[in-house]
């Protein structure tokens, strides 16, 4: 009570201080909005409760730059100029920090050790998941003795339920980090001959479900659970060991779904584990998804929380928007931002269905991409389109595309490398930029121009952000190592 009184007094003091200054800009909307922001920060109360539930939402490849593009695209889709838009996790309800994403042996990280660091509290080596620093990538012989304890296992020991949701394959790096320990992230349905220290990643998921470490698993990747030569829901199996993991899971009592209809028919009362695999490989990009084929990430989030909330001891839930990353790899910003918006909607869903008093909600990315932004574009320039000039008067851009030294227009966003390069293999890697129209640039299939020709655009080591609300979210501050995210979760569920 005393503390509340002090904070309120401070807020009042801040508001009146500006008025007392009698500044000429005090009547500006920008000024009053700035004051309101300060008031909101002053009104924050540190949440020192115990986190019954922890939800970790990761948009794969959604670094600060990519998130900026999604913010503008989302705003522009809603009729704003875009720059002023506030994504659901960018409000003053959330504490935030910058995150350093490098791996033990990689300046440019990959999604396996980054997700692993969030699930174990230690940085890991490139391309492997949840093994200690002495493990070697692709070396099964270094698995034994290097297995790390997972947050999901710790949550299970506390009597909590555990869920994992992704629009990528459930055996892909980020979701796998919730339950798997592997010397190679690509061992999704098999391990090398003679490797007995670990199972393939799909096998580890089914084992975790049987052990009660994973209760709710929803995403893509059906092919890795079916034997080669068999087919289910239009997907051919890839398992060379002949094991049908779907039969194994359902034999252990799990419910199973493969499309929106069977997903909607799942019993979410918490009495039986849930396994849903919607696609042979990754689920569809949001831009290509049909509601009657696959649920949205927000729908999967809603079902996960409904299911996991049945446990009075709480839950740990990791949710991945997996395909922001893939669209960036394609150099196709149009799909990246649409999956970014779908992720933001999942965050809003998770926030709406939970209580800040007992749920730590963390929103972050695992790494950034080689994305960059040109200038000097006017306000409201379509973030996926051509860079339009700044208007001398008014606010909105001039609607005249700026041109570069070659006399040609250019897009706001570009990639440092990737398939969008205009350099040609059959022309000694030379090339010329085309006369690009706005219609071409904003086409859903357009690839932003890239400098260095590569078949797939790369990650970058640039920072990502982390946003959080709920118990002990105030521990996120400044610039942190990625593995610190685990330590906040770990502290929040068992504060001293």
């Amino acid at each position: 009570m005393l503390r509340t009184l002090k904070v309120s007094t401070l807020a009042l003091a801040a508001a009146t201080a500006a008025q007392a200054q009698d500044l000429p800009q005090a009547g500006s909307d920008w000024f009053t909005a700035g004051q309101a922001h300060i008031d909101a920060l002053l009104a924050r109360q540190p949440n020192t409760g115990r986190a019954k539930n922890v939800i970790l939402l990761i948009a794969d490849g959604n670094g600060v730059g990519t998130n900026y593009a999604t913010r503008l695209f989302d705003g522009q889709q809603k009729g704003m100029l875009g720059e002023e838009n506030v994504l659901p996790y960018e409000t003053t309800d959330f504490h935030s920090a910058l995150v350093k994403t490098y791996n033990i042996n990689a300046q440019t990280p990959d999604s396996a050790p980054t997700a692993g660091s969030m699930n174990t509290g230690v940085k890991q080596r490139f391309n492997l998941i949840n093994l200690g620093e002495n493990a070697i990538h692709d070396d099964c012989g270094t698995v034994a003795g290097n297995e790390l304890k997972l947050f999901s296992e710790m949550a299970t020991e506390m009597g909590k339920s555990v869920g994992v949701v992704s629009t990528a394959r459930l055996t892909h790096a980020t979701p796998a980090a919730v339950y798997a320990k592997t010397a190679n992230r690509n061992w999704e349905d098999s391990v090398p001959e003679g490797c007995t220290a670990q199972k393939d990643i799909a096998g580890q998921l089914i084992d975790a479900m049987a052990a009660g470490t994973i209760d709710f698993a929803v995403g893509g990747g059906l092919r890795h659970f079916l034997p080669e030569g068999t087919e289910r829901a239009g997907t051919g199996g890839r398992r060379k060991d002949g094991v049908n993991l779907i039969d194994e899971a359902t034999g252990n009592g799990a419910q199973f779904a493969t499309d929106t209809a069977s997903f909607n028919a799942l019993n979410l009362d918490g009495s039986a584990p849930v396994l849903a695999l919607f696609d042979g490989s990754h689920m569809k990009y949001e831009a290509d998804r049909a509601d009657d084929g696959e649920p949205s990430l927000a729908d999967m989030t809603r079902a996960a929380i409904e299911y996991l909330s049945q446990n009075e001891n709480g839950y740990y839930l990791e949710i991945e928007g997996g395909r922001v990353d893939h669209a960036n790899h394609d150099g196709n910003l149009a799909r990246a931002v649409r999956d970014g918006v779908a992720f933001a909607e999942a965050v809003a869903m998770a926030d709406a269905l939970t209580d800040d008093a007992d749920t730590l909600l963390i929103v972050t990315a695992d790494h950034e991409h080689a994305i960059a932004f040109n200038g000097y574009c006017g306000r409201g320039t379509d973030i996926t389109g051509l860079c339009m000039g700044v208007s001398q008067t008014g606010i909105k851009h001039s609607n005249e595309a700026l041109t570069a030294a070659d006399g040609l227009p250019y897009t706001v966003a570009g990639y440092l490398n990737g398939a969008g390069s205009i350099l040609r293999d059959d022309a000694d890697w030379s090339g010329a930029r085309p006369e690009l129209t706005q219609a071409e640039a904003t086409d859903i299939d357009y690839l932003q121009e890239a400098l260095i020709p590569m078949t797939s655009e790369t990650h970058s080591g640039e920072d990502v952000a982390v946003y959080a609300k709920g118990p002990w979210s105030q521990l996120f501050d400044g610039t942190i190592e990625q593995n610190v995210i685990f330590h906040v979760m770990n502290y929040a569920v068992n504060p001293k």
Partner: protein, 138 residues
């Protein structure tokens, strides 16, 4: 002049297709969300049409077909363990042995739309939609 373009023009084997009145279509107009054939695709079956896209790296040397993709086929080592075909692709069966175009160069292919499933006997590649008797150019 680009080497491939020079070869194509000099040899004349893959000369630019005669331009019809119909504009080049995008592959996505032939598919519905979820992967089924669109109404457009069904109404165009058996017709000669032009499609925009990119040539995926051919599956074998001296091939008579290639896969046309909506976007350059990015092969991402961190997404996939092997090349993955997107949903919105179409096989292009050409009149002549294909002259490879770099994967990041936009092309137009013209041929007769065939919606019957077909497994290529040499490569085993299964296509549910094809352009046959096709030519292509940049």
């Amino acid at each position: 002049m680009f080497r491939r373009r020079f070869l194509a023009l000099s040899a004349g084997v893959l000369a630019a297709p005669a331009r019809a009145a119909d504009p080049a279509r995008k592959i996505r107009t032939l598919y519905e969300k979820g992967g089924g054939f669109s109404d457009d695709a069904r109404s165009l079956e058996g017709s000669r049409l032009t499609l925009q896209g990119f040539m995926a790296p051919p599956l074998k040397a001296d091939a008579r077909f290639f896969v046309l993709t909506s976007r350059p086929l990015a092969v991402c080592p961190f997404c996939e363990t092997a090349a993955e075909w997107p949903d919105d692709i179409i096989a292009i069966y050409t009149k002549r042995v294909i002259d490879v175009v770099p994967f990041n160069v936009r092309i137009e292919a013209r041929g007769v739309l065939d919606l019957t499933g077909f497994k290529d006997p040499e490569t085993g590649f299964y296509s549910k939609m094809r352009l046959v008797d096709a030519t292509y150019d940049e």
